[in-house]
Amino acid sequence: MATFEPALFARINKPDSASLKTYQADGGYSRLKEFLSMAPGDVTNIVKDSGLRGRGGAGFPTGLKWTFLPKDYPGPIYLAVNADESEPGTFNNRYLMELDPHQLIEGIILACHAIRSQKAYLYLRYEYGTSYRVLDAAIRECRAAGILGTNILGTGVSCDIILHRGAGAYICGEETGLIESLEGKRAWPRIKPPFPAIEGLFRKPTIVNNVETLCCVTQILYRGTAWFKSMGVPADPNNPRDPGSYGPKLYCVSGHVNQPCCVELPLGVTARQLIEEHAGGVWKGRRAKAVVPGGISMGFLSASELDTPLDFAGPGKVGCLGLGTAAVVVVDDQTSMVDVLYNCCRFMSHESCGQCTPCREGTAWMTKILERIRTGQGRTEDLDLLMEVAGSMGIIPGTTICGLSDGAAWPVKNAISKFRSEFEDYIRSRKASVTSAQQLMAVH
């Protein structure tokens, strides 16, 4: 571990790291001309061979996704860059965009070349004002330097980036929701099939990739697939459907730790290592009760599961949904899981787009039940009801159009099954962490 040298974060501590000059001084764009003269299929094959999996949450193999585009399609084909980083606890894209935008831009140009697209839409969440200004300046610098636009560096390849700011909704991070939002519509995820690679933005074939994924593309092309594959967790030979977890990953550690941080490490590091070695341990000398492995929709690791390797397959082996965005949120032993779960549910019910019945009503119902439990009005049978509601809302594979419903149901099932005795104690004690609105009304 000590020998690990950050690649994605190689420049973030340099002065003026966001400028074209710094990036170029570090060798950035130096081989762009060479890569753009390769056949697009060759670029795709390099990415495919590297075993790169999407960093946005689902972990779908990136190179494979690119091959889903219709063959010999005359165009246009679009690349949509998903920078609507809104999973709670996730802030790795923000580091990449604010501190090293050119790495991302080079990745976008390379990905566009691979998928024969001449236009990339960068969908940036509205709250990232600094990212917007930095990216905007970087894109202008590139246009002025001939790195973006028509006939990039004389290679005959053209590519431009359109920076689009969202209006603030979690669901815009779902790839078809993002596409709808880009088209100027309400971000209601589309029914699939057709998948975006066949019919996406403006009804044209579209590839949606996460910011970190595209930064990895840059690194893979410069450093080679062997470098990328030298890190991570190889595929499980007993599971033919496991493509393995290779390469570096940005882990965001937040919550009840001494030093919340975003740190680049090879895939497969454990939650305990992250907390102890990189985040300065749990705060106030307490111990971790639960750890979210990758965004709240993935569920929780209990204190005994902290040595689970955080690769794409690891969290799934202990009942979590997956690695997600690798946003590790630490919950200390003084915090009630009822409150934690309530917070998750409230977020999900606020962010449910409201299209599918189970998600629209289920998220709100679970929130109401937990709200009642928190006012001391809970009944033990509420836990079974919560489990049943979460069950009918969806288990991957889900019963709704997009994955939000699954992601909303999973932490509920996970928390109640792993911390059931705590929930029961809470309900039996009839303690209230909050006062209900009705009680407040009665007082006044």
């Binding site: 029914i191 599918c356 019945t357 189970p358 009503e361 709200e371 009801l385 009918s392 019963t399």
Partner: protein
């Protein structure tokens, strides 16, 4: 041919049919419940009510089922598709979805217009749980009394199927409705200052599977289980929308479109939907009269009809011609009765088709906000505002090779060419002006058969109060030659008689008016109307050009 298996039953699907699971299941009588799916609107698959298990039958006979439930509306069937719609998994999913839909739905069925024809009630009864486990307060959303001149929205009853939103975007094109807010606080609303007042607005009430969108015209008028429905055809324009007339105790309460792909599809326009009110007008003629020397005397039907018969016989025997005007509002049978009778009195009798009201140009939908029509056209309100020009012309053409224009008939009447004219009206918005009526002032016998007063009455010698379309039975032929049956839904006011009965008696036929035998007579005599005996006439209607006479 493709074979699809639904709950173990095989059904053959034609090679040109593109069906989803719901439609394929309906073929074998299996209902897959759905809210958001509607055959005339785009698929959103958001209500999740139609979740079913779907699989494929492999060539070796084994069945590979998909691991998850899929929405039946979104899943096309192909050869070998296996649908399971009655497994415990499917039943549990439906039960859960219904519980979700009812969480925030008020229990106000006793005061809700939709009760009795509500899909929430029906599906809850068939597939639901029967009680709610919600212990918390329901979300309360404000009702929106005014979202259109004819439409009101009970926001709390809405289940967010978005059929209405899609209708205004995809069929009317006017896009007034939208979804606002998010999650369980979502509501349907209009864009401020743009109410749903497009010419097709009323359809959103029919589309609403629950009682959220209600028609102000029908609101709190009747419980729907009191209503009796009769199949009929809208008389508003020559599109001839298939409709049902809903009535109780001889009072019509509403018209609803009846699905007929041959006629108009699924919808109807507001002009037709609310255009039946004249039927219960206070002005309705309800006393048969004979007018002589400026004195109008009310008489019994027998006396008036006797007088009509003798006056016309006398006129026919004279030197001058007699004439009859066949209104484009008559049914084919009525036109035939009048034409044959007049011609039997005088073989030289002149027949003219009454005035065809044309208003503006055909209005096609969807139209964008600038009024440009968007292809493909999904609905048309026609400029020709009468239901049966084609049918009446076909009858008239059988008797006269050159059809005399109505204006020409009036010109001849004013120059004293006719001794008697038999006029039929039927256009509730008026069909003759005072000046036109003046042309008949010197005609000796003017018989007017109509249900509303018009300027021509002052020159009439005989007034025969007739019936509106809800009181009559017969055939109307629309703009593309589709013959459809209108049926009698209510009895007319005392003193009036359906046109067919008046003409049946005048022409001296025995017994009561029999439309079926009359249609056989017409079909045999007029090749263009040979299709009138086709059995499809009673359901979808018959395209006359292609139909052959069928002997029953």
């Amino acid at each position: 041919m493709a074979t699809v298996t639904i709950n173990g039953k095989d059904v053959e699907i034609g090679s040109n049919e593109r069906l989803n699971c719901i439609q394929a299941a309906a073929k074998v009588g299996v209902e897959i419940p759905a809210y958001c799916w509607h055959p005339a609107l785009s698929v959103v698959a958001s209500c999740r009510m139609c979740l079913v298990e779907v699989g494929d039958k492999k060539p070796d006979g084994t069945v590979a089922m998909q691991p998850k439930l899929v929405p039946g509306c979104q899943t096309p069937v192909k050869d070998g598709t296996v649908i399971i719609a009655d497994s415990q998994k499917v039943k549990d999913a439906r039960k859960a979805t219904l519980e979700y839909l009812l969480l925030n739905h008020p229990l106000d069925c006793p005061t809700c217009d939709q009760a009795g024809e509500c899909y929430l009630q029906d599906y809850s009864f068939n597939y639901g749980r029967g009680y709610s486990r919600l212990n918390e307060p329901k979300n309360i959303k404000p009702d929106k009394d005014y979202i259109g001149d004819q439409i009101t929205l009970f926001t709390d009853r809405c289940i967010m199927c978005t059929r209405c939103v899609r209708f205004t975007r995809e069929v009317s094109g006017s896009a007034e409705l939208q979804v606002v807010s998010r999650g369980s606080h979502e509501e349907i609303d209009i864009f401020p200052g743009h109410p749903v007042n497009n010419p097709l607005a009323g359809n959103v009430v029919d589309l609403c599977p629950v009682g959220a969108l209600c028609s102000k015209d029908f609101l709190y008028q009747q419980r729907v289980w009191w209503l009796k429905s009769t199949n009929s055809v809208c008389q508003g324009c020559s599109t001839g929308c298939s409709v049902t007339v809903d009535q109780n105790e001889d009072k019509v309460y509403r018209l609803k479109p009846r699905v007929n792909e041959m006629a108009q599809g699924h919808f109807m326009c507001d002009e037709g939907r609310f255009g039946w009110k004249y039927t219960h007008s206070e002005e309705r003629l309800n006393v048969p009269k004979i007018v002589s020397n400026g004195h109008s005397t009310s008489q019994s039907w027998e006396d008036v009809l006797g007088s009509v018969r003798s006056s016309l016989q006398k006129a026919a025997a004279g030197k001058q011609k007699i004439a009859a005007v066949l209104s484009p509002w008559m049914t084919v049978e009525e036109a035939w009765l009048l034409a044959t009778w007049i011609r039997s009195l005088s073989p030289q009798a002149v027949l003219a088709v009454g005035p065809v009201r044309v208003s503006g140009t055909d209005e096609h939908f969807p139209r964008d906000l600038r009024g440009n029509v968007i292809e493909p056209v999904k609905f048309t309100i026609r400029a020709e505002k009468c239901p049966n020009r084609a049918g009446v012309q076909a009858v008239a053409a059988h008797f006269m090779s050159d059809l005399m224009p109505f204006e020409e008939l009036l010109r001849l009447a004013s120059s004293g060419q006719f001794s008697a004219v038999y006029l039929t009206g039927g256009d509730p918005q008026g069909w003759i002006s005072e000046m036109q009526a003046e042309a008949l002032s010197d005609v000796e016998t003017v018989i007017v058969q109509d249900f509303l007063p018009s300027p021509v009455l002052q020159h009439a010698t005989h007034i025969l109060p007739s019936g509106t379309f809800v009181e009559r039975e017969g055939i109307v032929v629309n703009h593309r030659g589709l013959a459809q049956l209108i049926r009698r839904a209510v009895r007319g006011p005392d003193g009036s008689r359906p046109d067919s009965r008046i003409l049946w008696e005048l022409s001296g036929r025995k017994g009561l008016f029999q439309s079926e035998s009359l249609r056989a007579e017409i079909a045999a005599a007029v090749p263009a109307l040979a299709g009138l005996t086709h059995p499809d006439l009673k359901s979808t209607g018959v395209l006359l050009e292609s139909a052959q006479q069928v002997t029953i």
